[in-house]
Symmetry: C2
Subunit: 379 residues, 2 copies
């Protein structure tokens, strides 16, 4: 198969021409560049464009023990969808660039595209072009994603004000715990994994939702749209690099202090249960693991933000009506930019450092290594 035949094999027939047209696609895959019609709001005015790009590198962001090919495709797009959600935007158009080792079976790349298109279908994203090159060693996938937001409604990191509430739109720590379980399961199964441990094993262990959170994360587009429309949301980030890291970004961009109360953090039952299992029944150790995953883990794609207290009731009602979660977890205070944690045991608040509270303390070496590699950052 030549290069063009491969691309056709991976992409042709995936999305119907009339649906693509309805998403503003004038010229899609197959020319020098895609041509897109700007989206309009209810008054006919053009919406603003929201643009982002994310790269996933084999053996840096994923490996055979943690992700299957379709997972890689799903997550390559989902990480971008999450960035659009974190601006309050709606995802619309994707470009996909894959650099593929020459020895890689094209069918494996087709399965990667299976996962990518599944995510595209889920979030209404039209795939409009891309690039394919060879790579000497590792698979590299870059997705650039364009979206739309009503003019003036995009929510940045920089608007948090003292007196605002800090909120989360969903649980955090699931992806990190899922990665912890996948890494441990792969180590237990021996070193020659050609794919992640089957999901049935995770179901038997009660960790299936954690594993899915790592391999098939679900960006919070609907929550982001509600937040942007509300006018009450003063800052917003997705929790791609961990709650602590994202909270510090908001604090620094806004010039304020964020205070998170440990006892307000939403803790999922399966997450707590796996922390206990991973700690071998040591409750103090389980609590450390849990807090480490929740503050330092990342890749959960819940949204973290701040809002004016006066907006809470209305926003809470809108979230409940939409079947979405909204958890107040702290408050914004005047003071030097930084992040503080009020411990659940009633002790004094303490500062949370750069990339998360006690980031690698007590985690298994394998898991810590996996996390250390997860160093993607957006400028």
């Amino acid at each position: 198969m030549d290069e063009f035949a491969r691309i056709r094999h991976w992409t042709r027939g995936r999305q119907r021409p009339d649906w693509l047209r309805s998403r503003g696609v004038v010229v899609g895959i197959g020319d020098d560049a895609a041509v897109l019609e700007p989206d309009r709001d209810g008054t006919g005015a053009p919406r603003h464009l929201v643009w982002t790009v994310d790269t996933m590198v084999e053996d840096v962001h994923f490996n055979a023990a943690t992700m299957d090919d379709p997972d890689v495709g799903w997550k390559a797009l989902a990480s971008n969808v999450s960035d659009i959600a974190a601006m309050g935007g709606e995802p619309r158009h994707a470009l996909v660039s894959v650099s593929v080792p020459r020895s890689r079976d094209p069918e494996r790349v087709r399965r990667l595209y299976d996962g990518l298109y599944a995510c595209a279908d889920r979030y209404g994203v039209a795939v409009v072009g891309g690039d394919t090159t060879s790579s000497p060693e590792r698979l590299v996938v870059t997705v650039a994603l364009g979206g739309a937001v009503e003019a003036g409604k995009a929510v940045t990191r920089g608007g948090a004000r003292p007196g605002d509430l800090v909120f989360l739109t969903g649980p955090v720590g699931l992806s990190a715990a899922g990665l912890h379980w996948l890494t441990a399961a792969a180590a237990a199964a021996g070193g020659d994994a050609t794919g992640p441990v089957p999901i049935a094993a995770a179901e038997a262990a009660g960790t299936a939702a954690l594993v899915r959170a790592h391999r098939r994360p679900e960006p919070s587009v609907a929550a982001g749209r509600l937040l942007a429309a509300s006018g009450a949301c003063t800052s917003l980030n997705d929790v791609s690099d961990g709650l602590a890291s994202e909270a510090r970004e908001i604090a620094e961009a806004s010039g304020a202090a964020l205070v998170i109360r440990e006892r307000l953090l939403p803790v999922r039952g399966d997450l707590a249960a796996y922390a206990r299992a991973a700690a071998g029944g040591d409750d103090a150790r389980a609590g450390e693991l849990l807090l480490d995953w929740m503050l330092g883990g990342g890749e959960d794609y819940a949204l973290l933000g701040t809002l004016a207290p006066a907006g809470l009731d209305r926003l809470g009602a809108a979230f409940r009506a939409a079947g979405l979660e909204l958890h107040v977890i702290g408050a914004v205070e005047a003071g030097p930019p930084g992040l503080w944690l009020e411990p659940a045991d009633g002790g004094r608040r303490r500062p949370v450092e750069a990339r998360g509270y006690n980031h690698f303390g007590g985690i298994s070496a394998a898991s810590a290594a996996a996390w250390m590699k997860k160093d993607g950052e957006r400028p």
Copy 2:
């Protein structure tokens, strides 16, 4: 330096806020995603978006013997600018994703950004975001570029009709000849090059323009804009993968035969002189090399297209007035899609196969290997 500090070091202060604002940038580098205002045409209607992505992989698309760090940055953006030009669009906004080996000195990445921003300044491109990750072995640079074109004016590959003329907006083969010289010069200098042979050596050899065409190619935006505005241009491609390959793409997308006359191909004096030098004075061999570079070389970023004959005089005058070249090199005929060459010696026309006429025939092994690796394709 942590990751954010590196990104600041590479990008901060490069483009002035008021200039970015004039390019429609509402939120630029530093948040989850960029927010951009759609561009409008003279009547206030929103222009269409033109969007493309290209990836360059170390030791696939470039190496220490052929490109310096700033060249890599320039070309990573320029290849995208060329794709926008080939749709008749104007480049506007770029996202930059770099995957950097951990051992790489951040100053080298800064120099890569020097070249990228030089190209951005040249073509009026606002850099609005990106991603930075580590890479186990090779540097990978992906640029996604968005542009604008008046609604309905984008020129695709698919509109060539029998009777149309085939044209080029500039010389071809320069980049391939430059790569040939660079590869030969590096081999002559021994195998441990930490950068390409100094340009002074190319100047002494009379190949400086060829080397610059390879390392600092100049996309044909002004020509593309004239062609889109004319309404006479029926198809358009940039010559990134070689004249023969691009002509075949137009033929296939348009369902017609393209016939190129060898004696109409624009041959630059320095190109012909280097072909003679590389052939060691063998005129027949020099002719083969020349034709090989011109048909198969690629990365020249001239535009190849077709136009209705009635439009030639007006378009030719517009090109002359703008100081641009326009060379008619053949014609479109009815018949099965394909590419034909009428030899300069008056012999019978012959079909030109997939990736160019006699693509690797007689080229040095090193140069052929470099070309074989140059397999980037856009879906």
